[in-house]
């Protein structure tokens, strides 16, 4: 996508390093995207539960998409005021600092090979959650790093000698961009670092206790840096351009959606959904398994966030399409759902691998309840969409219970916001206004904002609010009695999903 802009205009470049592809997007001062280039990379699934990426391949993708985006906009490196990065979180890579070669494939956030390590940590769960805010889970980077150190030949000895470096994807890319073996800057931004189980959520430094507990040599760890700061200067690619911002993708979306005040919240609807609420200077403890995390750090005062994730949202629609063959494209679920006025009494609970926040029932499995001879495909389509809305409601209710300050409106982004029936349903069950901003690139925009703030391209976060334009708003229109009845039905459906899975004999 391109739009003509004057050649004298400066832009901010964002690299969005995602799970399936790497993109470069260029933004103007008004937050308008003027070009995008994208390149996919391979997914390696060497055995069940393992998911890997080739970090070198991802770097090569960066070297392709950045020039391609500039070409499309008719701009050169001299037009780029700064470069920011948003990345898939928790994906873990180790590499040799002298050669720049990764010692193994990067282990991605979907990989569950660390389940045995994590089970062993259960006894110290209190320590991890007290210091890092995170209870041990295969989701986070620290146990993955331990696995690499214990299984990759030469990794531990190299790390102890200071020859082997650790990073999440933003660390790896910043190091490569700023020269690699020739003076590359080895840093990790505070939002990515907050997802390792190694960082102290209060001091924003690596915790010596947690590093010792996970047997991670501190010599291999990057320096933790704020989200908006000139980390270094690009060498080969975009020579002279400051690398000035980095954020994990969900925190980047929080910034891109300009949720800068406590209580402001965003939800990104994709394969799964991620709801983040700004909790200001307060670290919200969670009774319900939501995750306290760093929202962003501009300057020296961190803004914290509470994060709740929903495992199955867009992937439920994909299952409805591919496994059940009910629809030929994901968008047509709306057409099918609109063929009926309501769910006909039918509810789908997509507990495909247990129920996560706020229930945490690992033995739950998916159910469809309320089937009668009256139910047809249209009702199922409605129930599939409503499952995403009710799961959002559960996470939001838990968030409001945990962090006091109630959410008063929800800003949404991601592919599922194309579904207006779903967005109306979310507004109806939350009893809140749901708003979509113009331009669906909240993640990349957040990375650009961080980088632009660091170099003074934008003077302060408040200015960025003026770039946020409402593209659509869905107002709650459900009768309160009906909402209460439907909520009760949903809760009863959830109860019926629990206790199903049993350990294999």
């Amino acid at each position: 996508m391109t739009a003509s802009i004057p050649v004298s205009e400066r832009v901010v470049a964002a690299i969005d390093q995602g799970t399936t592809s790497t993109r470069c997007l260029l933004f103007t001062r008004s937050g308008r995207m003027v070009a995008v280039a994208q390149r996919e990379h391979r997914q390696f699934f060497p055995s069940p539960g393992r998911a890997e990426h080739d970090a070198d391949e991802i770097w090569r993708a960066v070297t392709r998409v950045v020039p391609a985006a500039l070409r499309r906009a008719g701009l050169g490196p001299e037009n780029v005021a700064a470069l920011g990065i948003a990345n898939q979180r928790e994906t873990t890579v180790i590499w040799n600092r002298h050669t720049g070669i990764p010692l193994a494939r990067a282990i991605t956030w979907q990989d569950t090979r660390t389940d045995a390590i994590v089970a062993d940590l259960a006894g110290d769960a209190g320590l991890y959650s007290r210091v890092s805010g995170l209870g041990p889970a295969t989701y986070f980077a620290g146990p993955r790093l331990q696995w690499l150190l214990d299984h990759v030949p030469g990794a531990r000895a190299g790390a102890e000698r200071g020859d082997v470096l650790f990073g999440t994807m933003e660390s790896w890319l910043i190091w490569k961009l700023t020269g690699g073996p020739d003076g590359g800057v080895h840093v990790s931004d505070v939002t990515n670092a907050s997802r390792t189980m190694l960082m102290d959520l209060r001091t924003l430094e690596w915790s010596p206790r947690l590093c010792a507990a996970l047997r991670v040599p501190e010599a291999m760890l990057p320096r933790i840096v704020p989200n908006a700061q000139v980390y270094g200067t690009c060498t080969g690619l975009l020579p002279g351009v400051p690398v000035a911002g980095a954020l994990g993708d969900q925190q980047a979306a929080l910034v891109g959606q300009t949720c800068f005040a406590p209580g402001e919240a965003k939800c990104t609807y994709g394969t799964g959904a991620f709801l983040l609420k700004n909790t200001g200077s307060r670290i919200a403890g969670s009774e319900h398994g939501l995750i306290p995390t760093v929202g962003y750090l501009f300057g020296d005062r961190p803004v914290y966030a509470l994060e709740g994730s929903i495992a199955v949202t867009g992937s439920l629609v994909r299952w409805f399409r591919d496994a059940l063959g009910m629809i030929s494209t994901a968008a047509r679920i709306e057409t099918l759902a609109m063929s009926v006025p309501d769910n006909g009494g039918c509810y789908v609970v997509p507990a495909f691998s247990g129920l996560y926040a706020p229930h945490w029932y690992p033995d739950a499995r998916g159910v469809i309840v309320g089937l009668t001879s009256y139910i047809h495909r249209g009702h199922l389509a409605r129930a599939v969409l409503e499952a995403t809305a009710w799961q959002t409601r559960e996470v939001l209710d838990a968030m409001n219970a945990d962090s006091g300050l109630p959410v008063t409106g929800l800003r949404v982004d991601g592919g599922m916001t194309a579904n207006h029936l779903l967005m109306q349903c979310v507004a109806d069950v939350l009893d809140l206004t749901v708003e979509r901003p113009l331009g669906s690139e909240a993640v990349s925009l957040g990375a650009a904002y961080a980088a632009g703030l660091a170099v003074g391209y934008w003077p302060d976060p408040e200015v960025l609010r003026r770039n946020w334009h409402r593209a659509a708003a869905w107002e709650p229109a459900m009768d309160p009695k009906r909402r209460a009845r439907e909520h009760d039905n949903w809760r009863r459906a959830v109860e019926r999903s629990t206790g199903w899975a049993r350990a294999e004999p």
Binding site: M1, A418, S440, H469, A472
Partner: protein
């Protein structure tokens, strides 16, 4: 009896053959069955393939019926259309400062049904108009469908008046539609809501079929100059966005 068009007859025969075979067929088999020279059969098959009516095996290159045949009896899915249009509609709203509407013929053909709506990015209070039906003769997107998709919509016998500018005389409307077809875009200089104007262009799939009308809406003076002429900039952006959406719709076999 009028003379039959030979290539259309041959295309129909090829489709019947492929449909009846129950297995993919090679070019040689198809040409032989219809007693056609191979280059002739190949030319027809290539055209059918480009229209999605015929598909070709990735290996071996034998022919079979294409996915687009399933679609013949059903109109474009409006939500596919919205999903494909969303990014371009956002860019159009950002570029023009106008609200963006994507309209398709209503089920009964008696109105324009809005499948997508992007707010005007000026912070003013606005209400989402997705799934509302508006009059054909009094909106730019409606007039665009009347002009470019006449088989899918029907103008009402009595043209209701909404503002003092609404075209209510059938002869005037016919002249307006002729002008719309000639210049390639429809204009509403305040027919529907006083002071609110619209411009719209057709979104055409391959072969020229109009599947939707893409429009921008804004205060009349933002879209039209003092002498009533449409300003060129929004029209340029509209045409570019419609072309991009049409390219995306092409992939929707």
């Amino acid at each position: 009896m009028a003379r039959q068009i030979q290539s259309v007859e041959r295309a129909a025969a090829l489709l019947r053959l492929l449909g009846g075979a129950g297995r993919p067929l090679a070019l040689a088999e198809l040409a032989a069955a219809l007693d056609l020279p191979r280059p002739t059969a190949h030319g027809i098959l290539r055209t059918l393939r480009e229209e999605g009516l015929v598909a070709q095996e990735p290996t071996g290159g034998r022919y079979l019926l294409g996915d687009a045949l399933d679609q013949l009896g059903t109109p474009w899915d409006r939500h596919d259309l919205r999903a494909r249009a969303m990014n371009w509609a956002d860019a159009l709203a950002a570029g023009t400062g106008c609200a963006v509407y994507l309209g398709v013929p209503a089920d009964d053909g008696r109105g324009v049904d809005l499948v997508h709506h992007v707010f005007r990015p000026d912070g003013s209070p606005q209400r989402l108009r997705t799934n509302t039906v508006q009059p054909l003769h009094a909106t730019a997107w409606g007039a665009c469908l009347l002009a470019f998709a006449p088989a899918s919509v029907r103008a009402p016998e009595r043209l209701e008046r909404y503002t003092r500018r609404t075209v209510t005389d059938p002869g005037d409307l016919a002249r307006e539609l002729t002008a719309t077809r000639r210049r390639g875009w429809a204009a509403d200089p305040g027919w529907w809501e006083p002071g609110a104007g619209g411009l719209a262009v057709p979104v055409r799939s391959g072969g020229g079929l109009t599947v939707a009308a893409l429009g921008v809406g804004a205060p009349v003076e933002q879209l039209f100059s003092g002498d009533g002429r449409a300003r060129p900039d929004p029209l340029v952006e509209l045409a570019a966005a419609a072309a991009e959406i049409a390219a995306g719709v092409e992939g929707l076999a």
